[in-house]
Amino acid sequence: MAVAGKGNGNANVSVRARSLTQRFGRTDALKGVDLALAPGVFGLLGPNGAGKTTLLRTLATIIPPSGGTLRLLGLDPTQSDQRRQLRRRLGYLPQSLGYYPNFTVAEFVEYFALLKEMPSSDVNRAVAHAIERVGLSDRARSKLKTLSGGMVRRVGIAQAVVNEPDLLLLDEPTAGLDPEQRVGFRTLLREIGEHGVVIVSTHLVEDVAAACSTVALMDAGRIVFQGTPDHLTSLGTGHAVGDSPLERGYSRVLAEARA
């Protein structure tokens, strides 16, 4: 399996999944996913119900896999002590961010810094840095219930990056962000991707084109394409469906996978 990301070989692989399956009742949400990722920004594209969120929740150690093997940051999440170590180095933004409406921005980010077991002496500075990185310094003491949807999304990103994670998992992070904020967000992704693995699930192909070094396309629980955004773009040549070259590549791969 080829290693995606900035690493130059298997020694640098931070995420490795082999034949990963996930079954809920009679539904197979993941049907044998193989991944080998080194540090970098990895985009996850696919239609609704393709399995992107299930894959991210599995990598976030929320759902144990039904089958296959998984190693994250060199750790085995089936072992409780290693899972705990892994979670200290993990950042996760779920698709639907639940929050305590009466918490302030700083309190919310601090809450998760503490649950990630960051050293108490580092927490305040890390919280301030994370809030700055998402451009919410002027709202740090505002209650979450007073913020717009886009601001709440940025608070979610702040809690995900507060511990400088080595594995950052973001499910639809740019939903609700305006174009300027999305540009800033992509810069943040690239910064974290310099040293860690960032996996971004999105419907927005322009996010992938701008920020991701590697992209995978999922459909019906399988990865049907993995390569660079340029490669996906090149596959769209001559295909009519889609408003941008990358969208045309996306549509073509999807159509061929379903044929």
Binding site: Y92, Y111, L115, E132, S137
Partner: protein, 256 residues
């Protein structure tokens, strides 16, 4: 993404003020961003209350202490509602002579515990499942805290309710069992409403069955011959709750 609170560029600084520029400071090894984050972090930091400070020392985990103080059913309004219900129970007991406090205390504890943790109750439940401090630890610490506080309230109420003095401590055993049942059902079904319903249903069934037998409420709430059943039930329910939080509920796989 960040555009705020950066120090002004050197060109905007008043040349009459001999203020070192960002690059001057960088040469001296001063990282202004880091300094700013440190200052902002101190300014924005909340004050940690005495309860959280005590819990952090007791549990040796600041994160767990913070999760404890964020328990939905330990907010002031919930505690006031519980205290009000028990106060009404005290008044009614004194007027009618029927021991309402031992009847109400287990029901209140069950509701508090069912609403202490879980999806639909804890808004950040999904995120908390990916945290280093396990959701099982959060559940247990919150459940214990709610139980202890409700037991304290119940104790206070039963001491004040004179007619019930004969059974002052009798409700503690059924309260433990009923609260454990609420905990187990709420975590297994991922529904606090179902947990409360099951616990209240079981408690009512016990009271009615015992009342039919003894013909009086005071004897009905006295655990008496049911103590072994309550104890076994409590242990079984706690085991179920632990099992349910070993992985993800209602999903096939679990972390070992």
């Amino acid at each position: 993404m960040a555009h705020h609170n950066q120090p002004p560029p050197a060109s905007r600084q008043d040349p009459r003020l001999d203020v070192p520029s960002r690059s001057d400071l960088a040469r001296l090894g001063v990282d202004l961003d880091r300094v700013w984050s440190g200052v902002a972090g101190e300014v924005w930091a909340r004050r940690i209350g005495p309860v959280e400070r005590f819990a952090a020392r007791l549990l040796r985990a600041p994160g767990l202490a913070r999760a404890l103080t964020a328990t939905p059913s330990l907010v002031l309004s919930w505690l006031m509602a519980s205290a009000t219900v028990l106060a009404l129970g005290v008044v009614t007991s004194r007027v009618t002579g029927i021991p309402w406090v031992p009847v109400l205390a287990p029901a209140l504890a069950a509701a508090g515990i069912a609403y202490a943790y879980g999806p639909g109750v804890d808004p950040a439940f999904e995120l908390s499942q990916s945290m280093a401090i396990s959701d099982r630890m959060v559940l247990l610490s919150r459940g214990l805290a709610v139980f202890v506080i409700n037991a304290g309230l119940g104790l206070l109420a039963s001491l004040v309710a004179a007619p019930a003095r004969g059974v002052t401590f009798a409700w503690l055993v059924p309260m433990t069992a009923i609260a454990a049942l609420a905990l187990a059902i709420a975590t297994l079904t991922r529904s606090p409403g179902t947990g409360v319903s099951a616990a209240l249903g079981a408690w009512m069934a016990i009271i009615l069955a015992r009342a039919a037998e003894t013909r009086e409420i005071a004897s009905a709430v006295d655990p008496g011959p049911l103590i072994p059943l309550y104890l076994v039930g409590t242990l079984g329910c706690i085991a179920l709750a632990l099992l349910a939080t070993g992985g993800t509920r209602n999903e096939v796989a679990r972390w070992p």
